[in-house]
């Protein structure tokens, strides 16, 4: 196994210009295998276009990307990929069972395999009672469910879910969450596009904030060690010398009376700082890492214009 194939998605300076409008400016991203990765960003940030470039639906203007170690657009690789488009639409004259069978055949699955797989999937997404119903009679939530089943037919190594919970009620959302978890446990990589921050916070290992087609920031969600954090320290008797010495961890900090506010690159530095302050004779009363919620960070990045 070469090093590159440890990555499920690798993008370098991916750019897409439609006519004259820049949809994705320059996307550089690594997603490891087995990760549940969230793509966050305001409407029009280029999330869907990026996903379409990974899938080979849209051709990049410049830059390059690989999925599962192969250049995007590679036909054989698509056999290991599942995709739920943002607005799942399909031939609405097919029944739920027929739709899954058709997609299975496009995946090159045998009839015998499908005979066993299709009922399992229908059961998983809770559509078994509606298996012989035509899709034109499906509600938005039901379409979302059948779309999800369709994306999992081939037991993919990499799954793209574009707004999978947008048409779903709380029960449906729970279902999607459970399915994502099951896929993670199976070892699959999931890329989730969503602006439902709560969903992302619960399901994802890591997120990237996208704005104007660029990754502004990536953030680990499952780790105890926050990658970036702001710490508030309440302490007295800090000497001027001790104060200056703090710049080795935080190049800039604010001091107001007893309260110091530092920006750190990792919470791993905290114990070190406390030891340092104590050694310099300061009396430390309180050290509080300020956890910034996903929503706060999202709003900081998107700005007050709401991305419109």
């Amino acid at each position: 196994m070469n090093l590159k194939s440890d990555l499920a998605i690798r993008a370098r300076g991916l750019r897409k210009v439609f006519n004259r409008k820049v949809a994705v400016r320059s996307l550089t991203l690594d997603v490891s295998r087995g990760e549940v990765f969230g793509f966050l960003g305001p409407n029009g940030a280029g999330k869907s276009t990026s996903v379409k470039m990974f899938l080979g639906l849209v051709f990049p203007t410049s830059g390059e990307a690989e999925i599962l170690g192969h250049r995007t657009g590679d036909v054989a690789t698509r056999g290991k990929v599942g995709f739920l488009p943002e607005q799942f639409r399909f031939y609405d004259w097919l029944t739920a069972t027929e739709l899954l069978k058709l997609h299975g055949r496009l995946y090159g699955m045998s009839r015998a395999k499908l005979k066993q797989r299709v009922p399992d999937l229908l059961d998983m997404v809770g559509l078994t009672p509606h298996r012989e119903k035509q899709l034109r009679d499906f509600s938005k939530g039901m379409l979302q469910r059948i779309g999800l089943a369709q994306a999992l037919l081939n037991e993919p190594d990499l799954i793209f879910l574009d707004e999978p919970t947008s048409g779903l009620d709380p029960v449906g959302r729970r279902l999607v969450r459970d399915i994502i978890k099951a896929q993670r446990d199976r070892g699959a990589t999931v890329l989730l596009n969503s602006h439902l921050l709560g969903e992302v916070e619960i399901t994802c290992d890591r997120v990237a904030f996208i704005k104007d087609g660029e990754v502004v920031e990536t953030r680990q969600l499952r780790s105890a060690l926050e990658e970036q954090t702001t710490v508030s320290i309440r302490a007295v008797n800090i000497t001027a010398e001790a104060m200056t010495g703090l710049s080795q961890w935080a190049p800039s900090f604010r001091s107001e009376g007893e309260r110091l506010t530092l920006s750190l690159s990792s919470t791993a530095q905290l114990p070190e700082i406390v030891r340092y302050l104590v050694a310099k004779g300061a009396d430390v009363y309180e050290v509080t890492p300020q956890k910034i919620s996903l929503e706060e960070r999202f709003l900081q990045i998107v700005g007050s214009d709401g991305g419109l």
Binding site: F18, K52, L55, G56, L57, V58, F59, V75, A76, T77, R78, G79, V81, F83, P85, E86, Q87, F88, R89, F90, Y91, W93, L94, L102, H103, R105, L106, Y107, G108, G147, Q150
Partner: protein
Amino acid sequence: MGIWTMALVTFREAARKKMLWMALAAGGAFLMLFGTGLHFQAKSFTARGMNPVLRREIAFTMLTMGLYAVDMLAVLMTILTSVDTISGEIASGTIQAVATKPVPRWQLLLGKWFGFVGMLTTYIAIMVGGVNAIAYVIAGVTARHVVSGLLLMWMESVVLLSVTFALATYFSTMTSGVIALGLHGLAFLGGWIEQFGAVTQTQSAVNVGVVASLLMPSEALWRRAAFEMQSPLTNALRGSPFSTLSVPSIGMVFYAALYLTIALAVAIRRFSQRDL
């Protein structure tokens, strides 16, 4: 495999959406009308004791007229049923879940194409066969070279199908439909200009017609088909309104084959390279 799956689903769509059945029902109504007309005509000729040679010629003209109507129905059917399949699925996003499967795009397009070819072949065979069967039963005449005529009409439909596919990979459904019908209209008008040019022996008018046929060879194929199917007498006299005074050459048939191949190649190339 991918081609076969797509061809099958395309054919099934036509059946499930009642498109195919409606077309066949309308075709059936047309055949009934044709048969009724021919029946009364034949009855009145027999009553008047008309010259059998003339009677036969009139029956032949009626048959050609019926085939001409079938040809027009086939042209409309070809364009109207196929125009939305590619551009419509791109616009609605339906194509996205399909085009991300491990099937090359050229196979998706060719599969759809074969599905439509299958459907149109069925339609044209039933209609041409039906008109001939009715003419034979009622008036005792059949087209002279039914098979070559049928093949030429089929080819006309396939030319239009391929052009419609090529257009739909560039334009929206509405625009593609307007252009495809417009091109056929141009060929149709060019054909008549060519006929009148031949009658009045105006070479430049004939040339206009030939140029129109080069731009869109659909109507020329029909005129060749009519020539193949008409009675030898009509062809010799060249007097009937549906006869062909200036007959497109076999060269034009080969040109049409090349034309449809290029149209299909353009469709495949564009569909493989465009954003979906």
